[in-house]
């Protein structure tokens, strides 16, 4: 602010190399702090000076220069664009070919931050030929370099399928898959994130990732002590499971469902979210897979998630997953209903504070339309709002005509009474259902439970003249 930029700029061209790289380091730290300062660095025309003689400099200078580029490029896409326009990418690629691992790390970090913003910048990075060098960097023995290279590949491939395809064509998947077994937690995070960004775009990419034989090794990542490793592992499985039923089948056959369920149980908070979505996607594809989820004891875990979590999006995800599990056949709906989760769902639906009522409504509707387990539907009769009520009453009207024990239970638990108390417009579906239910019972019972019957009886007592 006090003219520091104009002071530092000539120092970059000083004869003594130590001064040069210390000046570059100072610029980098300034730009790192604030994006205004980074803009000032760009406006002060410092970047071309920085880059002009980069290839002949020593490694400390290269590291400091890469630090400056990273610091400038990380704040916003415009600044990153300015960095790219100065021709920084070619220089960074030259740095990537250097022998010193520290230089490579700094260069790939800078490239990663540039590529993170949008797909044009990533495309520019790819056009500069950085991807094969990054894949070579991944194979280096230094852990820090591997981490940064993996995170850069992840940032490049997250934007579009073509970019991901470029990364895959460079042969990244095999090396990434090998590194899943590495004991370092931060490296595993980046590797899993990179694989999930590749797999999420299309079915072919997901199949390529699966062919690298990540199952069942990925399941060990779900048991890691680091939370984010678990989260990224679950994200990878989610991106693979969501494409087709066959991939979900693969995951189920590898025992992935059990691992994911255990993983959900051991975490708290938004770390659980991808795991819940895995279960939802798997169950959504077909009823056999949904039954597999039920058999692996997924439903109690999902209910626990629904009840324990406070954040809305996790609850919404849990509700959606339950809806997918329960919507296929009456068996599935019964399994969901037995877990006593329908009252919770209804309470969440009715809660005015919750914003995801669309999810709840769809979930409730899907489950209720297939649910024939009457004891679970009973408690809902008493609290439900009209649009849910019609589904519940509809289900009763489907089951009661055929089952005499259910009819008896319906009467004894007070359900018939409640049904009589429902006011429905004539001609509506609700009215039809109520009529069907009333037809299952003899006249006297219906009249007995209709509201106001006690008054009618008392009136008759009053009007009665004894003989």
């Amino acid at each position: 602010n006090s003219g520091v930029m104009s002071l530092l700029k000539p120092l970059l061209l000083d004869v003594v190399p130590t001064i040069q790289h210390t000046a570059a380091l100072a610029l980098g730290r300034l730009a790192n702090y604030n994006d205004d300062l980074a803009e000032a660095v760009v406006k002060g025309d410092i970047l071309p000076h920085l880059l002009c003689s980069l290839s002949e400099q020593n490694r400390f200078y290269k590291k400091a220069a890469a630090f400056v580029l990273r610091a400038v490029g990380k704040h916003s896409p415009q600044l990153a664009q300015a960095v790219v326009q100065c021709g920084a990418l070619e220089m960074l690629v030259i740095c990537l070919e250097d022998f010193d691992p520290g230089v490579k790390e700094a260069a790939s970090w800078a490239i990663g931050y540039i590529a993170r913003h949008n797909s044009e910048l990533s495309q520019a990075v790819v056009d500069a030929g950085a991807v094969p060098l990054l894949v070579l960097c991944i194979q280096e023995p230094e852990i820090a370099l591997k981490r940064i290279a993996a995170s850069t590949l992840s940032d490049i491939s997250k934007h579009s399928p073509e970019l991901a395809q470029t990364v895959v064509d460079a042969g990244a998947i095999a090396h990434l898959a090998q590194m899943i077994l590495n004991p370092d937690a931060k490296l595993k995070r980046q590797v899993l994130s990179a694989l999930s960004q590749i797999a999420k775009h299309s079915l072919d990419l997901a199949e390529l990732v699966v062919e690298a034989e990540i199952f069942p090794v990925v399941l060990t990542c779900l048991k890691d002590s680091d939370e984010y490793v678990k989260k990224n592992g679950a994200t990878l499985i989610r991106e693979i499971a969501k494409h087709t039923p066959e991939l979900s089948q693969l995951i189920v056959n590898a025992g992935g469902v059990a691992a994911v369920i255990d993983c959900i149980g051991s975490c708290r908070g938004s770390v659980r979210l991808p795991g819940i979505m895995v279960l939802g996607y798997i169950a959504a594809h077909s009823e056999n897979l949904s039954m597999a989820v039920i058999v692996s004891k997924g439903i109690p875990r999902l209910c626990a998630c629904l009840m324990e979590e406070h954040e809305d999006h996790v609850k919404a995800a849990a509700a959606w997953a339950l809806g997918q599990v329960g919507r296929h056949t009456p068996e599935h709906a019964r399994a969901v209903a037995v877990a006593n989760v329908l009252p919770t769902l209804l309470a969440l639906y009715m809660d005015t504070r919750s914003s995801e009522d669309l999810q709840m409504k769809a979930t409730l509707k899907n489950i209720l339309q297939k649910c024939t387990y009457l004891p679970a539907l009973e408690p809902l009769l008493h609290d439900a709002p009209p649009n849910i009520m019609k589904h519940i009453v509809g289900q009763f009207s489907k089951v009661l005509p055929h089952d005499s024990k259910a009819r008896r239970l319906f009467v004894t638990t007070g359900g018939l009474k409640k049904v009589q108390e429902i006011k429905a417009e004539s001609g509506s579906l609700l009215q039809e259902y109520i009529k069907t239910i009333n037809n299952c019972y003899p006249e006297e019972i219906v009249r007995y439970y209709s509201p106001g019957y006690s008054e009618i009886l008392l009136e008759r007592v009053e009007n009665y003249h004894p003989v």
């Binding site: 399941l219 890691d224 590898a254 469902v257 059990a258 058999v295």
Partner: protein, 360 residues
């Protein structure tokens, strides 16, 4: 005459009669004419009508026959189609029955095989259990690894500190702080201090990049010791002062093998004979022929040639090694001469499909 008179009497009437008859004929002529016409027309009409009636009847007959023929044909066709439809319905019914049972079977075995689904779900739960157990083991192993690493780190730190503070060791005169006389036995720290070697000034920590990486892997209990990780003796730590000879030369000279003179190498007692014996032994060892060149050429004319031991058999030369090399005696073979009958029961061994015997 009478007749004539009668005729003449009637003659006066004749003209009147003639005129009367003519007139009356004239009067009735028209009527009769018309009557005749009527009769004739009526009759003709009757005839024509009869003819027409006759024609009508014939036509009706023809039409009747024709229509009957047509309808019978049509009826036949109707009957045929009805029969055909009946047959097709019947076949359809039967086909439906076949298709119904086939489709039921097909769907039950291949598409919605309930038992396969159940088995699959059971297999999944079993698989899940296995996976869960394995993951549990893996997690435990990781935990143990971490604990072990922590423990080792602590141990290493303790040892390092002990090495640094080795001067706190107790001596004869002065008991160290860890060896207080009021204690029953010395502190473990005291024992550690006793065991530890004092630290030298500059600790050269050569940390190769491989040791960190591989040591952390749980499967590797001990890091592979590369020879490079040990500190090699320094090549030139302290340059010796002054102009010295080349080290290689000095070493060569220092380790030159002893080459003693004959007098020193030979033993004290009769060295000459011993030396000669040595020479004799060498000669005896090295010579090949025992009978050397003899003076007379016919000296060994009658001598029989002694073949070498390798080539001579008991009484004759052994043909093995010259004529044949493998031990083969075709006269002892029986397989091509004698054909034994095969035993049927033994042939069946291992080939019967029997559930009780569990041989498949």
């Amino acid at each position: 005459m009478a007749a004539l008179a009668r005729l003449q009497a009637r003659l006066s009437w004749l003209r009147e009669e003639y005129y009367r008859r003519n007139r009356s004929v004239d009067e009735n002529r028209k009527r009769e004419y018309k009557a005749a016409i009527k009769i004739q027309s009526w009759f003709r009409g009757c005839r024509v009508r009869a003819y027409l009636r006759y024609l009508n009847k014939m036509v009706i007959l023809i039409q009747k026959w024709w229509r009957g023929y047509r309808s019978r044909r049509y009826f036949r066709k109707m009957v045929e189609t009805a029969y055909f439809i009946m047959k097709m319905n019947f076949y359809n019914e039967m086909a439906v029955r076949i298709q119904k049972s086939w489709r039921g079977y097909y769907v039950r075995t291949y598409i919605h095989n309930y038992y396969a689904l159940k088995k699959y779900l059971e297999a999944i739960s079993v698989n899940n259990e296995i996976v869960r157990n394995e993951l549990q083991e893996y997690a435990e192993m990781m935990e143990n690894e971490e604990k072990r690493k922590d423990l080792e780190k602590k141990e290493k730190e303790k040892k390092y500190r002990a090495r640094k503070m080795h001067y706190l060791l107790s001596t004869e005169q002065i008991a160290g702080i860890y060896n207080s006389p009021f204690r029953k036995s010395p502190d473990p720290m005291e024992l550690l201090l006793q065991k530890s070697k004092p630290l030298s000034h500059r600790q050269q920590q050569v940390k190769s990049p491989f040791t960190y990486k591989l040591y952390d892997w749980p499967t590797c209990t001990r890091p592979p010791t590369f020879s490079t990780s040990q500190t090699l003796p320094p090549i030139s730590r302290q340059k010796p002062q002054g102009p010295f000879r080349n080290t290689a030369e000095v070493l060569r000279q220092r380790f030159k093998p002893l080459e003693p003179t004959l007098r020193a190498a030979a033993s004290i007692n009769s060295p000459l004979e011993k030396a000669r014996e040595e020479m004799k032994r060498e000669e005896w060892r090295n010579c090949i022929h025992d009978n050397e060149f003899l003076p007379f050429s016919s000296y060994h004319k009658n001598k029989k040639y002694d073949p070498s031991i390798h080539r001579s058999g008991k009484y004759v030369q052994e043909t093995y090694g010259i004529k044949h090399f493998c031990e083969v005696q075709p006269n002892k073979w029986i397989a091509d001469k004698v054909m034994l009958p095969s035993i049927v029961l033994f042939k069946k061994f291992g080939k019967t499909y029997s559930r009780t015997g569990q041989i498949m």
